[in-house]
């Protein structure tokens, strides 16, 4: 697929950067014709992924880096969010709703990513970091209108 734009972002694993990451990705995504509601959904998905990297991947250690690669094609945004943290023991289990290793977290991060994006893929191994790949098409929820008569 031919891309029309790409960007790469690298930032410290501190909570203040959650807002930086989602606002930056949403601004980048707005080059395509997303609705405001789409952009809100992208923001939530990015917040959850970056939050997971900080809280689970790096156990809140502030001196590591998180990287985001984003690609725009004519009708799709693909986001790759990568950390070099401790990884996920059981990815399948982590993707289930209400699975969290922390009492005060709801295990909803992946649920929101899955609900708000059109595709979600999680690659992780214990000790080898986590890569979250998700994509969202423009107007994916709107039925195609045929102009042929």
């Amino acid at each position: 697929m031919q891309f029309i734009n790409q960007m790469k972002l690298k930032f410290l694993s501190i909570p203040a950067n959650v807002a930086f990451a989602r606002v930056t990705v949403a601004a980048f995504a707005s080059q395509l014709d997303y609705t405001l509601s789409d952009l809100e959904e992208i923001k939530v998905a990015v917040s959850e992924a970056v939050g997971n990297s900080i809280v689970h991947g790096y156990d809140q250690a502030p001196d590591y880096y998180i990287e985001i690669f984003a690609t725009l094609t004519a009708d799709t945004l693909e986001i790759r969010i990568k950390d070099d943290g401790k990884g996920i023991e059981n990815v399948e289990k982590a993707l289930q709703p209400a699975f969290s290793t922390d009492a005060e977290r709801l295990g909803l991060g992946f649920v929101f990513m899955h609900s708000f994006m059109d595709s979600l893929k999680v690659e992780s191994q214990p000790g080898n970091g986590t890569l979250v790949i998700m994509s969202k098409r423009v107007g994916a929820s709107i039925a195609q209108i045929s102009t042929e008569q």
């Binding site: 909570p15 203040a16 809100e40 939530v44 917040s47 939050g51 005060e104 709801l106 909803l108 929101f112």
Partner: protein, 112 residues
């Protein structure tokens, strides 16, 4: 983020504003815990009218306070979330334990 507390008849009204995420979660949790430790609080009202963004880290803080308040038989409710925030609350299932009201006065009336 601006955080505002008001205690009315043992019900603590918490008014939040702005984008709420992991960057604000610890501050929110600690501020709430400090008030709950110092004051006699039976019920909690979260006024979300001015909240423009919310993610699961904040849902966790809300749920944590619900656990504390409900243990002593109190109620926690949500007031006036904006549509995008409301959607997150709805998907999380939080409305199953926290009732939603269109204003603080109505919430106070129903809670007391």
């Amino acid at each position: 983020m601006h955080l505002d507390f008001e205690l009315k008849d043992n019900t603590l009204i918490v008014r939040l504003s702005g984008d709420m995420d992991l960057g604000k979660a610890d501050y929110l949790r600690n501020s709430l815990e400090a008030v709950l430790d110092q004051q006699q609080v039976n019920n909690l009202i979260f006024n979300l009218a001015q909240v423009t963004f919310l993610d699961s880290s904040i849902l966790g803080v809300l749920l944590g306070r619900y656990k504390r308040i409900s243990k002593k038989g109190g109620k926690v409710c949500i007031v006036e979330p904006q549509p995008q925030v409301r959607r997150i609350l709805e998907m999380s299932g939080l409305f199953q334990v926290m009732e939603e009201f269109p204003g603080e006065d109505i919430a106070l009336k129903n809670i007391g």
